[in-house]
Symmetry: C2
Subunit: 200 residues, 2 copies
């Protein structure tokens, strides 16, 4: 929908907002009108936050997550167990695992997952640094905590092959019925996994 009424700076703001994931043209317009009409301080703040994040954040040299330092606080924490390395797709996934308070090892953050159909292969995901990282002599086990989606499965499968050939123990998160899950409302695929991987 071309819009002859829209002045150029407004059109450009809408176009820039549309590049955010999950934002279509209607949402982008709503965001632009909201910022300009009702939240100009919010617009200023977002502009500054973008600049600051772009200039100050880099990737941790050890785990690849976003950090202000060459190596992030978690990687330099002497209380973390260097014999375990948990591979996650994103900092958000890492946060969820930390929130469970049950893991004391280190992490590697892929910042994505293999998506052959979208042209994301092992080279795009920078598996090289992960494999170097996995050469750490203190390391015993790599826990693959990628998503249980087709792409997450492919990623885990690929990494498992590469890491097992280096003599590491490679494990994956268990699949099954979620905590608090009532069987009636769990999908059949999950039930099938939970049955197949049942424990005594």
């Amino acid at each position: 929908m071309q819009d002859p009424l829209q002045p150029q700076p407004l059109a450009e703001l809408v176009a820039a907002l549309r590049r955010l994931p999950g934002v279509g043209v209607k949402s982008a317009r709503r965001m632009a009108y909201h910022l300009l009409q009702h939240d100009r301080p919010g617009a200023e703040r977002l502009g500054q936050a973008l600049q600051q994040a772009l200039s100050q954040l880099r990737h941790c040299e050890r785990c690849n997550t976003f950090t202000e330092e060459p190596v992030c606080a978690l990687c330099t924490n002497p209380r973390r167990d260097p014999s375990q390395l948990c591979v996650v797709e994103s900092p958000a996934d890492q946060n969820m695992i930390e929130a469970s308070h049950t893991y004391q090892g280190l992490y590697y953050v892929l910042m994505g997952r293999l998506a052959p159909l979208s042209g994301v292969g092992p080279d795009e995901l920078h598996f090289g640094p992960l494999l170097e990282r996995a050469a750490d002599p203190a390391l015993r086990e790599v826990i693959l905590a990628t998503s249980f989606t087709a792409e997450g499965d492919v990623t885990a499968h690929y990494l498992a092959e590469a890491l097992r050939s280096r003599g590491l123990v490679v494990t994956r998160l268990a699949r099954g019925v979620p905590a608090g899950g009532e069987l009636e409302y769990v999908d059949a695929g999950t039930i099938a996994w939970a049955l197949a991987e049942r424990r005594s």
Copy 2:
């Protein structure tokens, strides 16, 4: 969910993105990771677009929409009919009416609607300039094109009272079955309106 792993510039970016309408903490994180990892040029562009929009856009002195000039291109177009004024809630609504190619008059953009429960009253919406605008001697008819929601109805009702007392013809968009609408899939409230306002 407080996040000890998140460096400050990332936390600030997520907080700033959360102020966008319709964006919660999970979406804000996904946006931040996406921009930092996969679309740094997009992040630069958004930052610049925000700055440019904030510094260059103002409200049209006649119709209140966003413009780079004191008076917008539509208001200065001599081919628009000054006897009709269409009152809309937002530039997006104005765009939809222009897209119908059936209206040749002028506009007034409220940039909101009355929402007494959220503290948006006539003062917050700046009805004063609209009432001044409506004093134009060339003006004959005001078409209230606010939404058919409770808040849009309240806004239209309030404006109708104020404008009719100035001797203007005040009309509202027709309600009824949408173009291409199959009765089976139209809600009962719309059917009731279409029946009540049926035409010979």
